[in-house]
């Protein structure tokens, strides 16, 4: 056990060192850009794993929390003139606040209804962003967002050198926080609720409160990532809420495997490079999302032991309301 732990610690430290050295070796701006975007997606995917994988909440509004972070930070920095560093934190907090709002109904719902409410929520946020074009820029997007500075150093300089380290720091901090969370008593309690809700509740775990906290924590990191995303790219477009973004990040979580935090991080790094690489191939700018969709289905079909077996179990046995007695899969179990 302790040997395995040491090997993993060594691997993490080694990867961290590699991560720190990359910008010194890689001079190409575009490759650095891909790393930065990959780190951002990794934060979103890993934090999604907290609510979807560990807590077993069918949260399909996670990308909306990311988008809320994007717009909250962008608007705070651009219109209110708040320092962009602070604005990023505001993005995280805004996403957390939105998560609390969604949690109000979600903690009381089961199964498919959780999926529907979180989905409807993300579409609603998109519609609000598009309709309030006077503030958000509508479908044109929010442009000319201020950049970050530190001790007079503007991060626009040196071919994204500074941005790379901010993104890496964001990723490392997020992963450290998430790993700490899932290994704490809190993490144990949310997994207990996922695996056996009735038993967990009977042992005194406050289910509503734990789910509220899970959603707020997981949304905070997504919002923070969104904040950095908009400060880095300096534009925000409603595209961040689109089903394409949802499927891309969901495929990262699935390919990496749920309930691991590290899995989605590595999948995000890999898939960002593959997806961006394909985007440059003629005719695949949109078509690559078809490939992402196929990849998702293939993973779900052929890697059930590795990935889907780690998916939440207990809550799936009892879809909301009338669903439970109608599920076709109960055929095999009862017959």
């Amino acid at each position: 056990m302790s040997v395995a732990f040491n090997v993993r610690t060594l691997a993490v430290v080694a990867l961290l060192l590699v991560g720190l050295l990359v910008p010194l070796v890689v001079q190409d701006t575009y490759i650095r850009h891909l790393f930065i975007v990959a780190f951002i997606y990794a934060v979103v995917a890993a934090s999604w794993d907290l609510s979807l994988g560990y807590a077993g909440i069918f949260n399909f509004g996670h990308v909306a929390f990311f988008g809320i972070g994007v717009y909250a930070t962008g608007l705070a920095a651009k219109l209110l003139g708040i320092d962009p560093w602070l604005a990023m934190v505001i993005g995280g907090l805004a996403a957390s606040a939105a998560a609390a709002l969604v949690a109000l109904p979600v903690v009381r719902l089961q199964g498919i209804y959780v999926v529907l409410v979180t989905f409807a929520f993300s579409q609603l946020v998109l519609q609000v962003v598009i309709s309030q074009s006077a503030v958000t820029g509508g479908t044109q997007g929010l442009v000319r967002v201020p950049t970050i500075e530190l001790f007079g150093y503007n991060f626009l300089r040196d071919y994204k050198f500074g941005y790379y380290y901010v993104a890496l720091l964001l990723l490392v901090l997020t992963v450290a926080c998430l790993r700490w969370l899932v290994r704490s008593d809190f993490g144990l309690s949310i997994r207990a609720l996922r695996d056996n809700e009735d038993y967990g509740v009977s042992r005194g775990i406050p289910i509503g409160l734990q789910r509220l906290k899970v959603l707020m924590f997981s949304a905070f990191f997504a919002g923070l990532a969104g904040g950095f995303y908009v400060i880095y790219l300096r534009v925000a477009s409603p595209e961040v809420f689109s089903f394409s973004t949802v499927s891309l990040i969901l495929s990262m979580v699935l390919v990496g495997g749920t309930s691991s935090i590290y899995g989605p991080v590595f999948a995000a790094l890999g898939l960002t490079f593959v997806s961006e690489g394909l985007a440059n191939v003629d005719g695949l700018a949109e078509g690559r999302f078809m490939l992402v969709a196929v990849a998702m289905i293939v993973v779900l079909l052929f890697l059930p032991g590795g990935l889907a077996s780690a998916l939440p179990r207990k809550r799936l046995e009892q879809p909301a309301g009338t669903g439970s007695r109608m599920r076709p899969s109960s055929l095999g179990e009862k017959a």
Partner: protein
């Protein structure tokens, strides 16, 4: 509030409600029978509209509209059956089928949407109306096509109800929905009926798309907005019963029309969502859903 206002809200509400009822009943049918939620339902609707356009429009094959409708519905039913085979059937024995099929149908939706964008491009298309001209309904003028939707929706849903109630296959579908294990025990071909159900639902989606395709402009994301509305409707009405879903569809249609009239088109969706959350706080099983605890 004048009589004119009431008439406008009522008529546009019923038009919206009819579209939503056609859309949501297909979703509800698949849910009650198979226990899965098909996120690609909106994309099937779009596919139906594009197919019918390609076959009947002057820029396409320029055949009769009737041919376009028939072939489009048949093709979408084929795609629906293929989806059931590839994306749902392999997971029947999995305990987490609900979550897995949410993801596979979501993937199918992306696949279809992007595929249609590649095949038909981003340019707006519009189907020829089945019936041209305008109609005056309760003092409000709407296009004849919209009037056709208002008339056809109850007819189609009535036929569906009659089919589920009286035909041998329909009774089988309801039996499978109520208890698949018992249905199998008495010799009902459960997996065959899953296919029939999916085909019916896909056919309804295609028809909705074709009917709406001459009222609204067809784009690759044409079905996304009705799908989101259908989501809200099935949350309101509860997914369990076709009747509840249809009632909720008309209710939401009228509510949306009223909200658009009084607070404008931008804030109406947000208001509906806030209302939804408020209702779910009081009744977590949906407004019309039954308590099953």
């Amino acid at each position: 509030m004048t009589a004119d206002t009431i008439s406008t809200i009522l008529v546009s509400g019923i038009v919206l409600g009819s579209v939503y009822a056609l859309m949501a009943s297909g979703l509800s049918l698949v849910w009650t029978t198979l226990g899965i939620f098909n996120f690609a339902h909106g994309a099937l609707m779009t596919l139906g509209a594009y197919m019918a356009w390609t076959i009947s429009d002057a820029a396409g094959l320029d055949l009769w509209l009737a041919a376009g409708i028939a072939i489009a519905v048949a093709a979408v039913i084929g795609v629906g059956i293929l989806m059931e085979r590839l994306l749902i059937r392999p997971f029947y024995d999995r305990r987490d089928i609900l979550l897995i099929t949410v993801m596979t149908t979501l993937a199918a939706m992306i696949f279809l949407e992007k595929g249609m964008q590649l095949a038909w491009g981003a340019r707006l298309k519009q189907l020829r109306p089945i019936v041209p001209g305008n109609v005056n309904l309760l003092g409000t003028t709407i296009s004849a096509q919209e009037a056709l939707i208002v008339v056809l929706a109850p007819v189609l849903l009535g036929l569906l109800w009659f089919f589920l109630r009286n035909s041998r296959i329909g009774r089988g579908i309801r039996a499978v929905g109520q208890n698949p294990a018992a249905a199998k025990l008495i010799g009902i071909d459960v997996s065959g009926l899953f296919i029939v159900t999916f085909a019916l639902s896909a056919g309804l989606a295609a028809l909705t798309g074709i009917l709406l395709g001459s009222v609204r402009l067809v784009t690759p994301t044409f079905g996304a907005e009705p799908l989101v509305k259908a989501l809200i409707i099935v949350i309101f009405g509860g997914l369990g019963s076709l009747g509840g879903t249809i009632a909720a569809a008309y209710l939401i249609g009228l509510l949306e029309a009223a909200l658009i009239f009084f607070i404008g088109i931008y804030w109406a969706p947000s208001m509906i969502f806030v209302l939804l959350i408020a209702i779910l706080l009081i009744r977590p099983q949906g407004l019309l859903g039954k308590v099953e605890r």
